[in-house]
Each structure stands twice: as C-alpha cells, then as structure tokens.
C-alpha cells in the first residue's frame, strides 16, 4: 500500500537523529512490522518529518513502526510498532575506510 501523500522520505534519513541514541546504525538493520509481519530494513520504511519529531511507517501496510520526539534535553523513542530489530554488529568494521 502506498501512502496518500508524497511527503515522506526513507528510513535512512532518520540515521542522524537515531545516532544520538544508538551506537550502531539501526537504519541498516532488519525489523519486523508488528502489524503485518513484513521484514524489511528500517531504511526502507517511510519517514515522515513534517511533524513534531520523526514518524516511520511500514512501507507495506503503513503501520507506525517508530516515533522519535526531541523534547529539549529529552528524546522520547517509541518502537512498539516493531516486534524486533536485527542489527548487524559487524558494521563498525565496514566503516573503516582505506585511505
């Protein structure tokens, strides 16, 4: 199902804000939608930024996967829309760039 509007980005656009909380980039991780069961990389979710914070929705069923609100000195994260998130912990090695 597609969203009604074109005002969304991809989940990977949330990587910067999420890096304030997580040590590893979770946008490259695969998560399962708690509503439809689709297993997708978080980067493939539809990200809405025209709201107070960030809202990521499942690219398949549009269910809310994650909400992140930045309230001054406190960040509030709601991830109940995902049943799990599988993070590749080897990714830190990939970021080592040969110079």
């Amino acid at each position: 199902m597609k969203s009604q509007t074109c005002s969304y980005l991809d989940g990977n656009a949330a990587a910067g804000e999420l890096s304030r909380i997580f040590a590893l980039d979770i946008t490259a991780a695969k998560g399962q939608c708690a509503n439809c069961g689709a297993k997708r990389h978080f980067a493939e979710a539809h990200l809405y930024v025209q709201c107070p914070g960030l809202v990521a929705r499942c690219a398949v069923c549009n269910h809310v996967l994650l909400r992140l609100v930045n309230a001054g000195q406190r960040m509030v994260l709601d991830m109940r829309g995902m049943t799990y998130l599988a993070v590749e912990i080897s990714q830190s090695h990939e970021s080592t760039v040969v110079v």
């Binding site: 005002s7 980005l9 990587a15």
Partner: protein, 245 residues
C-alpha cells in the same frame, strides 16, 4: 558528535547548485552513499539541521565535498549556496547511514538512477569506483534524469570517465530540454528507457535510486514491472521537507 568543518573550496555546479569542499580534523572516512547532517545556529540560538549527501569518493582524507541545491524558500540552502565563504566553519555530524551505500567489496553489477540533485550520493559511488580501477570491479551504469543539459552536476567528472573503461556507462534522460539531435524526446524515465538503459533483471544488479519522492516511486515501480526484485533496489528519497542534498 558534532564536528567543526572548515570550508576550503566552493564550486558552482549549476546556476542553483554549489559544491562545498570541507576539511574535518579526525574524519573517520566514509562509505560512498553516506550523508552528513549540517547544523546552522543563529545568534539567538535557533538552529536548523539539514542532511546532505557526500559527493566525494570514499577515500578522501579528512576532506569531503557536499553539493547543495538552492531551494527558493529554503531556510538553509540559500545561505550555503550564496553566503558561505572559504574559511567559514560549519557544524557537521556524520558520516551517517549504512543502507544506501556502495562498498568497494561489492562484486555485482551496479545500476545508479538519479533524478536531479539525486546524483550527489551516486557520484560518490562512481568516484569511488573510478578510483579503484582494478580488474574484477563490477560494471556500473548511471541513468541520470535531468531537466536540461545546463542542470547537469559534475559535468567534467562525468565526461572524464575514460571511454575505453566501459565499466561506467552514463546515460542521460532529459525531462524538459534535450541537446540538439538528441535521439529521445524530452520526457520522464519510462518503461522503454528502463529496458534500454538499465541492466536486465537477469543480471541481478543492485539498483540505487536517488531523487525526489515522486521520481523514486515511479522508477522503483518501473523496475519492478521490468522484473527486478525488490530486494535488489535501494532508494533514497528527498523532498522539500528535509531539504535533502
């Protein structure tokens, strides 16, 4: 988390887009396709954060390039493209993102499809590919949808790709004005162009699509119709919301 970057170079790509070269002490290096967040803070403390893809190859030492397209009602891009001067400083966070990236370890054929300023992260991939011209590196194709010839970014670099090195093949799709004698009428990427200018689905290439949301949506649909697997398609949308690129 935030690093202070110093502007060391400015280069106009088009009438509305400017490439900014920045030095960052202790930059950890990036993978082609990653972006940075830039934070601008006004004297009254108000700050705005925007994401910009890195345009330079992944092996640039303590130096990156970003290209910023000026949006008419933008809050940040007019400053970055018109007022920022060599020697000025910017706060940057990054490199960011592990999904929309091409690593030199990948061996499968690569198809890049850019809409307008969506060329920026794809150019980083091309530059990284060209910088490592060893045998066995995968062949690249770029399909670059652009309004008119004068709107092309990185013209010199794209033309400088050695013609004998057919491992990076560039195709243009002009949407409004095409050069004289161009074989295709101006128009958006369609089914025929996907069939003639992108890898066949049997090749199992990895696709990277970057552009405005509507462009990405339409191209991803066409690729699916052409038989490509969703798992092989990576997308990066941008829009006025995030003032991406």
């Amino acid at each position: 988390m935030w690093r202070v970057a110093t502007v060391v170079g400015l280069h106009d790509e088009t009438a509305t887009a400017r490439t900014i070269t920045l030095t960052l002490p202790n930059w950890p290096g990036h993978v082609a396709g990653q972006h940075v967040d830039a934070r601008l803070t006004a004297p009254d403390g108000y700050s705005a954060v925007r994401s910009y893809s890195i345009a330079s190859a992944s092996n640039s030492k303590n130096q990156i390039e970003i290209t910023v397209e000026r949006l008419p009602n933008g809050e940040v891009s007019p400053y970055l493209t018109q007022e920022l001067a060599v020697g000025d400083q910017l706060e940057l966070r990054g490199p960011i993102g592990r999904w929309f990236v091409w690593s030199t370890e990948q061996r499968e054929p690569i198809q890049l499809i850019a809409g307008g300023s969506g060329i920026v992260p794809l150019m980083a991939m091309i530059r990284s590919r060209v910088a490592t011209p060893t045998r066995g590196n995968p062949p690249f194709r770029l399909l670059y949808s652009v309004r008119a010839p004068e709107a092309i970014f990185y013209r010199d670099d794209l033309q400088a790709i050695p013609s004998e090195d057919s491992s990076v093949v560039v195709n243009y799709a002009y949407t409004r004005t095409a050069p004289k004698d161009w074989p295709r009428l101006p128009g958006r990427i369609d089914k025929d162009l996907i069939l003639s200018a992108t890898w066949a689905s049997s090749v199992a290439a990895t696709f990277y699509i970057c552009g405005p949301t509507g462009f990405v949506e339409s191209v991803a649909d066409l690729l699916g119709t052409a038989g490509n697997r969703r798992e092989n398609i990576r997308t990066e949308r941008f829009g006025p919301t995030g003032e991406r690129k």
